[in-house]
Amino acid sequence: MKKIILASAACLLLASQAQARDLGNILKECGIGAAIFNDNRTAAAISNLIWDLGTTATSSDMSSPEECKGSSAKVAILIGSSYNKLETEIAQGNGKYLKTLATLSNKSTTEIRNKFAKVIASKDFDKLSKEEKAQKLYDIASK
């Protein structure tokens, strides 16, 4: 019996580790890359002339690789593209980006807000880069 419990616990641990993917890697796989955190205008890759980001992740699952089709990838892309808006709307407790994140991650806005409050209250929040903050938000939304 003990062996079964231990084996199950190991499986659960492995499964949760498999799900907790790195946000930066997902964005890279979907052709967006970590540049989105450094360059304010990376998300403005649209306009009349499209910046060449390699394989541009598409929303309709047409030309994106397999890694970009799941719901966790969609959460990652939303967070990567709109972190500033999300951070503000989570603090405010309302907003269309927060609602969209809640829909994609299948969580309530209250749950996301409560968990992210702990991230903001942490001692090192000020020192975190935008990418690191986004990773923490992704960890909350994707678990």
Binding site: A44, S47, N48, L49, M62, N84, G93
Partner: protein, 574 residues
């Protein structure tokens, strides 16, 4: 054997009554092939888009090949062209579209085609920060049922840029078809972030009046185009033209006529109005507009507190007294400020720290309620059409003007006194001669209203004029640019002042001041400009225009140079 003969006979008789030659010239069929009405070939340069080897130049052969593939049950081809077969199923009885869709697994599972509520075309206002965006942009939005609109899919057409390029190659390739163009799709939030939150551009969403067949036809056509490429031409085969090509598939009117030389993205929207294809227009203001508008809606007391907090870096968050309205406003304002700041900037880092303190406190306070404030703005088609022709008279001469793209301060538009004109040609007609009198290559004026929260130098106005004109019977080319400030002194009145630099090809350089007034009474607009160059007398020009509608106007111009001259004229916008 009898069954085969009977089937052939049945199929022949079913579509023998359909004139295939005539069908191949149908506007919808030609639009599905992206057939260029001027070159008589398809604009699609990907060979694998066409079934017939001559399909790009022969729509009749392509139609035959499409029907043949159906008759041969070639599902590899059939599943690649659902829009063609959907359209053909209304023209040729035996083509069973339901059977096709059930056999095409990938098409059936394609997310974009599911749960479509409506389709919109969105116009994005012009942006001087990117030369390719100066005339605006447009894209298609597929609105889904029961879904957060940020997750709706959008379809855009644009050019694929290389990783590195120079400004010269950018302009040359953009103008002369050096770039490949293609359609892409993404979530609407990507457009919202880029246009509204980073470029600070307004958007107008035109929801189309379409039945289910038309919606499916458009979406399935995007499936057909997913790997196709075009040549991108900035002037006339751009995003606006390609959006209109989509609408051309289902519209009775021709949306791509008069597009030989120039097609502005806004053209699509005038045509939508004329074709009565829109049932609702939704205005999406930019983040900048939202932030400014919300500030002026706050009470004077709250405005004072916010101003103190933002301008005094040492002021504590205690002065916000846990007022969630104040916190929410400042957080949104900081997002607006920080969007276009350099992350390595000292000011950015300071703002970031202040923002973190605000976030920490704000998240402990109750959630804010959903805002019910809706900003209103006139429809984009309220504006005068982009090109104009005018005829004006003074005591001695007649003048003929033409501009392919003109947003004037005195025409109908939403620019609040700004000017954006590209190529304004003036001819002088006197007695027996017709002579070139003036060419303005570019004429831009940006009057930025002051905003309480911004520093003086952050809200400067500017202008630029590059022109060739006749001066004492000789042509003189010059650059005249200025930087200054504008004030909204009444609801309909702006005062502006510039310090200008004038440089011409005769090596004259002059620094001079100017003062101006702009009056906007909806259909009647007036612009006055007074200036004095060194060693010259004070000069002025007054431009007054009454706009009957977005196509016709009557104007009066008074200039004082060496003499006072008065002109009266008519303008036709198209």
């Amino acid at each position: 054997m009898r069954l085969i003969i009977f089937s052939i006979f049945l199929i022949s008789s079913l579509y023998s009554n359909v004139n295939l030659k005539s069908l191949s010239n149908n506007k919808s069929w030609l639009s599905l092939l992206h057939y260029n009405p001027y070159s008589k070939t398809s604009d699609i340069i990907s060979k694998n888009f066409f079934i017939d080897k001559n399909g790009n130049i022969d729509p009749y052969q392509e139609l035959n090949a499409t029907i043949k593939a159906y008759n041969n049950r070639n599902y590899k081809i059939i599943c690649n062209y659902p829009a063609r077969y959907l359209w053909l199923s209304k023209k040729i009885k035996y083509i069973n579209f339901k059977k096709i869709i059930n056999s095409c697994k990938h098409l059936k599972n394609w997310r974009l085609a599911k749960d479509i509520d409506s389709i919109s075309i969105i116009f994005v206002s012009g942006f001087l920060g990117n030369p390719a965006s100066t005339f605006g942009h447009s894209f298609i939005k597929i609105n889904k049922k029961n879904q957060n609109s940020l997750l709706d899919n959008t379809i855009s057409f644009g050019a694929k840029l290389p990783k590195k390029y120079t400004m010269v190659s950018y302009i040359v390739n953009g103008l002369f078809g050096g770039y490949r163009g293609r359609y892409t799709d993404e979530y609407y939030y990507m457009n919202d972030i880029a246009y509204s939150n980073q470029d600070f551009r307004d958007m107008w969403e035109y929801k189309l009046k379409l039945n289910n067949f038309q919606k499916r036809l458009l979406v399935y056509h995007f499936w057909e185009l997913r790997k196709s490429q075009f040549r991108y031409y900035f002037l006339n085969r751009n995003c606006g033209y390609r959006v209109s090509e989509f609408i051309n598939i289902i519209s009775k009117d021709n949306f791509i006529s008069k597009s030989l030389i120039w097609y502005a993205p806004i053209d699509t929207f005038y045509r939508l109005d004329n074709a009565n294809l829109t049932y609702k227009v939704i205005y999406h203001p930019s983040l900048e507009k939202i932030v400014k508008n919300r500030y002026y809606r706050l009470s004077k007391k709250n405005q004072k507190i916010i101003k103190k907090f933002i301008k005094d870096k040492n002021s504590s968050i205690e002065i916000l007294s846990n007022n969630t309205k104040l916190y929410d406003y400042i957080l949104d304002y900081y997002n607006y400020l920080m969007e276009n700041m350099d992350k390595n900037d000292k000011d950015y880092k300071e703002l970031s720290k202040r923002k973190n303190k605000l976030l920490l406190q704000r998240i402990k306070l109750p959630k804010s309620k959903e805002s019910n404030i809706i900003l209103k703005e006139k429809d984009i088609t309220y504006s005068s059409y982009p090109s104009y022709l005018s005829l004006s008279f003074n005591k001695n001469s007649v003048y003929l003007n033409y501009s392919p793209y003109s947003n004037e301060d005195i025409s109908l538009n939403l620019l609040n006194g700004d000017i954006f004109k590209v190529l304004d040609i003036e001819l002088k007609i006197s007695k027996r001669s017709l002579k070139l009198y003036r060419i303005d290559y570019v004429n831009i004026r940006k009057l930025t209203d002051s905003f309480d929260l911004k520093k003086f130098y952050e809200t400067y106005s500017w202008r630029l004029l590059v022109s060739t004109s006749k001066d004492n019977n000789r042509f003189n080319t010059y650059l005249d640019a200025g930087i200054g400030y504008s004030w909204k002194i009444f609801n309909n009145t702006k005062l502006f002042s510039f310090v200008n630099l004038y440089v011409d090809t005769n090596k004259k350089i002059k620094l001079y001041p100017s003062l101006g007034l702009y009056f906007d009474f909806d259909k009647l607009k007036t612009s006055i400009n007074i200036y004095k160059k060194s060693h010259e007398k004070i000069k002025y020009n007054v431009n007054m225009q009454y706009n009957f509608n977005n196509k016709e106007a009557l104007y009066l111009k008074i200039t004082k140079d060496n003499k006072i001259k008065t002109y009266i004229g008519l303008k036709w916008y198209f």
